[in-house]
């Protein structure tokens, strides 16, 4: 039989088509394999990898400052923090608009808590300012309202700002304000909110138009009101006074409310300018502290290294970074302690696990199975129960101390402190993680045939030499696998150190949990978590370099 007719000619070319058909055949296999892992892959991506990536991203993310105070951060860019002078009035005016909006959206406290991580006291400054921001310029607003009742009339304002029926609109301003506002409120603003600022009025009174547009967006979407039925915020009126005072030329304006505007301009120019700086310092004198402003400026970029610096006991200063004061340094100690204790736990697991694994691998099947059940027994008990049991065993009034006192080895006053410290954590965690050391060791050892040791003995080696030169080197992959497993589990352990660790036996993970659930400083938690992750990866890499990951066998 010759080659089949259709492959005959394709093969004669240069063998390439053969490759193509091979690829085609393999592609089906690959797709099948992909389809098999797809459910798990999607599950892991969606529920695990993506949230973790998002969480880790928080360690550098810092958009909250520029989102909450977009105008202030823009103005602050000009300010030189080294002068230790307060920023200019323009910054305070921008701050007024930002804080007013933030206070309406109730987001100012969030920013306050964020900045409080960097500069204690900022939180209360923002809280009190948010409460009292409408005190600024209130006498001028009152004067405006006294001048003409129309300035308290919502319909008048609405007509003024739209420019009346059929006037040319300025949708780009609406769009721009919506984008800026959604950064703050995280709301979605539709294109049609029943209001479009007029083109003429937004050219004439830019600040007022912007402020009114923000007000309109917020009222329509966040409060669910009809814009035309709501009286504008004090901030809108103050913006109008500022616009008018800046000397706009009203003579060419003929739209709605032209007369009222001319009248108001006369009033505005006759009044003294609004002193925003004094107003803020009146509300909270912390605003007069240049250091607070330095902090705000330092954290105004969208991304920051601040969390990571904090996580290694450093802080940002205007000239780069510097170590934190000694009494505030905790993370380096915690990282070192976590590392040290994980190594101790790993070491004691090796020492305790190796003989057991050896026994398991060399006993007859029936006895080995029984022993294996004993090894696995802890897995069937709740982790919490095991840890609590250690608490009962080790505490000063606990079983071990009572026994020692009863035996007369120690006296009543000399009861040993074995819990709520490093010792307790190491003991409890060694116990809990021991099976993870024994199982890989066992599975490697059970693949080492007895004949190797026999061969070594027949060649003249004593029991010890046969073990040390022949058996032990072959069991090293098991030790490696067990060590990696135990070490990585230990370094991120949380529950046991939380319960038995006290203050000196806690891990970095306990601190991370604290920042996640108590202090709500997720950025710092994310930075600490990232460092932990990187540390594990670096150790893994080092292990691969030194021992070789091919030498890790699980059976």
């Amino acid at each position: 039989m010759s080659v089949t007719t259709d492959t005959g000619p394709v093969l004669s070319a240069d063998g390439k088509p053969l490759k193509r058909s091979l690829n085609k055949a393999l592609r089906a296999q690959k797709l099948r394999a992909l389809a098999l892992i797809a459910p798990l892959l999607i599950f892991v991506l969606v529920t695990f990898i993506a949230p973790i990536a998002d969480m880790l991203f928080r360690s550098v993310e810092n958009q909250i400052v520029s989102n909450t105070m977009p105008r202030t951060t823009a103005e602050l860019a000009e300010w030189d923090s080294d002068t230790s002078e307060l920023p200019g009035d323009n910054v305070f005016e921008a701050l007024y608009t930002d804080i007013f909006l933030a206070a309406e959206a109730k987001k100012h406290t969030r920013l306050g808590s964020r900045l409080n991580y960097e500069q204690p006291g900022v939180s209360s400054m923002f809280r009190s300012t948010g409460r009292n921001v409408d005190e600024i310029g209130e006498d001028q607003i009152k004067a405006l309202e006294d001048l003409n009742g129309a300035w308290e009339d919502e319909t008048f304002w609405f007509t003024l700002m739209t420019g009346g029926d059929g006037a040319e609109g300025n949708p780009s301003l609406l769009k721009q304000q919506a984008a800026s506002l959604s950064n703050l409120t995280e709301s979605v603003y539709p294109a049609d909110i029943g209001f479009v600022p007029g083109q003429a009025i937004s050219d004439l009174l830019p600040q007022t138009a912007s402020a009114y547009t923000s007000f309109a967006l917020f009222s329509a979407v966040d409060n669910g009101d009809v814009v035309a039925e709501e009286e504008p915020w004090a901030a809108v009126k103050l913006a109008l006074i500022q616009d008018l005072r800046s000397g706009v030329d009203l003579s060419s304006y003929s739209g709605p409310g032209a007369a009222e505007l001319a009248e108001a301009q006369d009033l505005a120019t006759s009044l003294p300018p609004v002193d925003f700086k004094a107003g803020f310092i009146d509300i909270d004198e912390e605003w007069a502290d240049a250091e607070n402003w330095t902090t705000i400026k330092m954290y105004s970029p969208d991304f920051t290294s601040g969390y990571f610096l904090n996580a290694v006991d450093y802080q940002k200063t205007p000239d780069g970074f510097a170590p934190r004061p000694e009494d505030e340094q905790i993370y380096n100690t915690l990282f070192q302690r976590t590392l040290f204790m994980s190594l101790m736990i790993m070491g004691s697991c090796i020492l305790l696990g190796y003989p057991i694994a050896y026994l398991l691998a060399n006993l007859p099947m029936r006895t080995a199975n029984l022993l294996m059940i004993l090894v696995l027994l802890p897995f069937w008990t709740s982790l919490l129960v095991r840890t609590s049991a250690w608490k009962v065993m080790l505490q000063q009034q606990g079983v071990i101390n009572d026994t020692l006192v009863w035996l007369g080895l120690i006296d009543e006053a000399g009861r040993l402190v074995m819990i709520n410290n490093q010792f307790g954590t190491i003991v409890a965690m060694t116990h809990i993680l021991l099976p993870f050391m024994i199982l890989p060791m066992y599975s490697v050892m059970s693949t080492i045939p007895q004949t190797y040791v026999r061969a070594a003995k027949s060649l003249g080696a004593t029991n010890w030499t046969a073990f040390w030169r022949v058996y032990f080197p072959q069991s090293v992959p098991g030790i490696g696998a067990g060590s990696i497993l135990v070490f990585i589990l230990a370094i991120g352990y949380y529950i046991t150190p939380e319960i038995v660790g006290g203050t000196t036996g806690t891990f970095i993970s306990n601190r991370i949990a604290y920042h996640i659930s108590s202090s709500l400083n997720w950025g710092l938690a994310a930075a600490l978590g990232s460092i932990l992750l990187v540390a594990v990866l670096v150790l893994y890499w080092a292990y691969d370099k030194i021992v070789g990951i091919d030498n890790v066998k699980l059976g």
């Binding site: 045939p449 004949t451 190797y452 026999r454 061969a455 070594a456 003995k457 027949s458 060649l459 003249g460 080696a461 004593t462 029991n463 030499t465 046969a466 030169r469 022949v470 080197p473 072959q474």
Partner: protein, 367 residues
């Protein structure tokens, strides 16, 4: 070759018994004595106790009863590493984490031999098995045959006087196995070492050994040089186990010094050589090797007995013809004839007459 060995025993088993569970004896009353320089093979089916004997000699198992002596010294209580016995294991047991040279150097290191001495010995041992250039390799990088040579070199490198081999060629393919059989025997004779070799492959046992001990049921059934074992099996087990064998069953009618009369179960009377039958009326198994059966009865002379047979099957095997016959009611009687120019090929269904010399027909114990 068979009886030329010196009379003073080098390895001795005296009434050795072994039991693992305290109920059954795996080795029952073993007595064996080996002169220096002998190549002795322990042959037997699995579970016959041959490996246990080897392990007792190596020191990995202790004898439940009896004494094992090496060069006149009892060694029952000497740990394996002090016995100085080289051993080749079934799966070679080369240490996977050491190179070939390190493997060979290991027994020298534990004997605290100096570095330069060690290197010279390792080199010599590697050259001896023609593996001189493989010192830096790992065992996993070698083929089965190469590993086998290294294992052999390692067992010999510290110059033991006794080397034990536990089915060392079991994992090799047929051609390589035959080649290695030849090399091992050559090496053993060249070095003058004493070898105890365990196998379940009878061809291996026959071609390699000075003497073969056939094991079954915890006992040595027969201890003899290969030719004697094949041609003069002392009981039915050995006759069946070694080589191909035809059996016919019957009862002793008359018994003499050199010849006895056996009545086969279908009534036919034939002459046989009495081996382990004792009295008239005993049941017996007659054993005849297929190649000793003659089709051309005229060649045998008048002393020979002839029987009628029917050809059942003819198998062409190249150098020989293997023909299955129905004889005395049994249809598994095999004969082998040489493929010579004048040899006729028998046709199935053909009625022929076969015969043999009484000395080739042995009356053994009934199975």
């Amino acid at each position: 070759m068979a009886d030329t060995a010196n009379s003073d025993a080098f390895v001795e088993f005296e009434r050795v018994q072994k039991s693992y569970d305290g109920e059954n004896l795996v080795v029952k009353d073993l007595n064996l004595s080996m002169p220096k320089g002998e190549f002795l093979t322990m042959l037997g089916p699995s579970g016959s106790g041959k490996t246990t004997c080897l392990m007792m000699l190596a020191g990995f198992e202790t004898a439940t009863h009896g004494e094992i002596k090496l060069d006149g010294r009892p060694i029952n209580n000497i740990p394996p590493h002090k016995r100085g016995i080289g051993m080749v294991f079934q799966n070679y047991a080369l240490f996977p984490h050491m190179t070939v040279a390190e493997n060979l150097s290991f027994p020298l290191e534990v004997r605290k031999i100096g570095k330069s001495d060690r290197e010279a010995k390792v080199k010599r041992a590697l050259d001896m098995v023609q593996m001189g250039s493989f010192g830096g390799r790992r065992p996993a990088q070698l083929s089965g045959g190469q590993q086998q040579r290294i294992a052999l070199a390692r067992a010999l490198v510290f110059e033991p006087e006794l080397v034990l081999m536990d089915e060392p060629l079991g994992a090799l393919d047929k051609q390589l196995r035959e080649h290695m059989q030849f090399e091992i025997t050559n090496l053993a004779h060249q070095l003058g070492i004493t070898v105890v070799y365990v196998t379940h492959d009878q061809t291996e046992a026959l071609t390699m050994s000075d003497r073969v001990a056939v094991f079954d049921d915890g006992r040595i059934q027969q201890l003899a040089p290969p030719d004697e074992l094949y041609e003069s099996p002392e009981n039915s087990f050995v006759a069946q186990f070694i080589g191909e064998n035809n059996t016919l069953e019957g009862t002793i009618k008359e018994i003499g010094e050199d010849v006895c009369l056996v009545q086969l179960d279908d009534g036919e009377l034939i002459d046989a050589k009495p081996v382990n039958v004792s009295k008239v009326g005993d049941r017996t198994t007659i054993s005849i090797r297929p190649e000793r059966v003659e089709v051309d009865t005229a060649k045998l002379g008048d002393k020979a007995h002839t029987l009628k047979a029917e050809v059942m099957e003819f198998i062409y095997m190249g150098d020989v013809f293997r023909t299955r016959l129905k004889v005395a009611g049994k249809d598994n009687f095999i004969i082998k004839t040489r493929n010579s120019a004048d040899q006729r090929r028998l046709q199935p269904g053909e009625q022929i007459e076969i015969g043999w010399l009484p000395r080739d027909c042995r009356a053994l114990d009934a199975v």
